[in-house]
Symmetry: C2
Amino acid sequence: MRLVVIGGVAAGLSAASRARRLDSSADIVVLEKGFTISYSACGLPYFLSGEVKRQDQLMVHTPEYFQTERNIRVRIDAEVSAIEHGRREAVLASGERIKYDKLVIATGARPDLEKVQGTATAHVFALHTFEDAGRIAQFLADRKPKTAAVIGVGYIGLEAAEALRANGLRVRVIDANADVLGREDPALTKLVRQHLERFGVTVECGVRIGDVSSLNEEMVLVAVGLRPNVELAAAAGVRIGRTGAIEVNDRMETNLGSVYAAGDCAEAMHRVSGRPVYVPLGTTANKMGRVAGANAAGVRERFAGITGTSIVRVCGLGIGLTGFSVAQAKREGFDPVSAQIGSKDRAAYFDGRPTGVELVADRRTRRLLGGVITGEQGVAGRVNVVAAALAAAMTVDDFLDLDLAYAPPYAPVWDPLLVAGQQLIKLLN
Amino acid sequence: MRLVVIGGVAAGLSAASRARRLDSSADIVVLEKGFTISYSACGLPYFLSGEVKRQDQLMVHTPEYFQTERNIRVRIDAEVSAIEHGRREAVLASGERIKYDKLVIATGARPDLEKVQGTATAHVFALHTFEDAGRIAQFLADRKPKTAAVIGVGYIGLEAAEALRANGLRVRVIDANADVLGREDPALTKLVRQHLERFGVTVECGVRIGDVSSLNEEMVLVAVGLRPNVELAAAAGVRIGRTGAIEVNDRMETNLGSVYAAGDCAEAMHRVSGRPVYVPLGTTANKMGRVAGANAAGVRERFAGITGTSIVRVCGLGIGLTGFSVAQAKREGFDPVSAQIGSKDRAAYFDGRPTGVELVADRRTRRLLGGVITGEQGVAGRVNVVAAALAAAMTVDDFLDLDLAYAPPYAPVWDPLLVAGQQLIKLLN
């Protein structure tokens, strides 16, 4: 059995590795169009900020590692230009044809640069690939720019803004969307804007930039959100879902037999709405990759879907998100109500620092629909508790019954999550 | 309606406050035998360590506050010597009789000093009450002892050991039990012993001390675990459960009509086993108090029980526990299997620090039964995720489906919880 995987980053290499573990005799080939595989894309902003000293610290494994340790052949500079599924062949740009029995498409995504003009200018960058980060670092070192504009208030935009600020630049973040992080949550947007302004970063939401080369800043970083790389798959007859990403079932199967898709090119099922969404994130890519690899190796595994959990650090503020905001929940057909509270992340006498919790629930069923946590400490843990509650389809009542850990160095006696839950339940009764 | 509450710390004041919120006209009286009410008992070790500068920072509210802000009469120095339930009267030590319609017993617990001898010696202390902490601080300031023995490897013993070490004392912790924190988990005991020894604290488990006054150390702190204060209730005909604490149902009702019990004097239902346990903790006391107060005020509320979640910091190491260890689970009739992993609390290139996760599951049902998290950061959050999973009766498979937050400053791409879950599932398949 030959398994061919298109794409050599998170999902692709997870699929190949998982398949190898389950099938020691399969012939496994990974085709990567670039020159760098298996790196932490999520770590790139921290290389720019200087918190990660050397870019090669972000490399996880080399092609040699996969060959010798996992018996997986990884070919770099191997761009696939077509999938001829009738013949079960991937066609490289060089013309070479590679036969497959099973195919995993993990072609990832790219910054959606069609939304902006003027990107083909020397001082305009994306922060998407390993090479992008190297180019930006070089530019910062060579030109020592004093000002930067970041286009996009998603994760990458905000992380990049923090990194550029850490390099001493004055930074302005601009987005055509009204709200940060794609959350449609005005309160969160206000909080993030105020926090960033204290650190000398200006945030302008609802501002569309036609041509980024016209901006006055000495450098421009375009982080306008991702667009799934589906063209190759679509041309081969793979069905594209309503989100614009590749449609898959819970085994990561596409509509074509023996063809799987995983990672930033594919949709995932949202466990709160039960509907497919496009939320490209590193953890999800790894998990989908594993499931695709298992099924390609003939072992039935399923991907349960996502609750849309994520966390980002912006100038010291942690922001954790899961599930839906009120606006998003309404669009999904729920009747949402939300409560927001401000509390301390641990006992007040133990230097407790401000933390905010917003919980969203459905009025009819009392089911929790989403949450936002902000603060310096404990944000990841608290948003993960909400994520677990969403996965278990807990009502607010169930949530209030949780037995959460308490000790003064870690939490106040009433955890902020429970304080928010108590506030929310008042609105439901 | 007159509500009398016996006990003016966590459970008692939660009950009184909740009853007031639900019944603005009730006559509410809290009887506290000591002179200090509404303080954070859990904060006392941090006053001794110096992390909390002044002891009065641990005071939450005064009797005056309750009177003026909540219309609750709090009487200090008001020890109840008998409950005459036939006459619906609480009898004070002074002979005064106080009528009640509803009664909440929140008499708390005391260090189980019957287990040790020689405690009536000037250099032997408990660390249970506000006054205890003041006496210890005074002794440390006046005598400047160089050595201390701590009897007990529960939360208070370990926190006290850390606090005394922070004062420069050489500390030895001794317990007749084989394992720390009442967990019956030899691996955890070994980890804690090794960690404390690096900080100059010796741990001797399985060593019974007959008479503590014979120890060579210049001071002795006895923290041998708590014994519920049930004598008053038992004498009035309140039923005591198999754990030795007051038996209550999920509305905090005792066997006597209109008499409720809450906090460290009462049992709680363990949600994993479905059986009553005695786990006296501050959060539980507050929650039970709220439920007792609501029901006493005529509003049906229920307490879902506990999963035994707790966290303690010992010389910088966070230890989070929830559910059962293998030994405990066996005794509860499960067929437990456990997996332990060592991982990093965030991305390795982001200065990830060691963290350990142990998960316990039932072989037959695949249901999660418990977890232990150790590490410097993220311990509270991770143990709370396991606690949520226990509350939802998740299987290991459900647990692996959780969508947990990832960003390099907060977690590795595969959260240690999921790495442990993957390890555990291999043992189940």
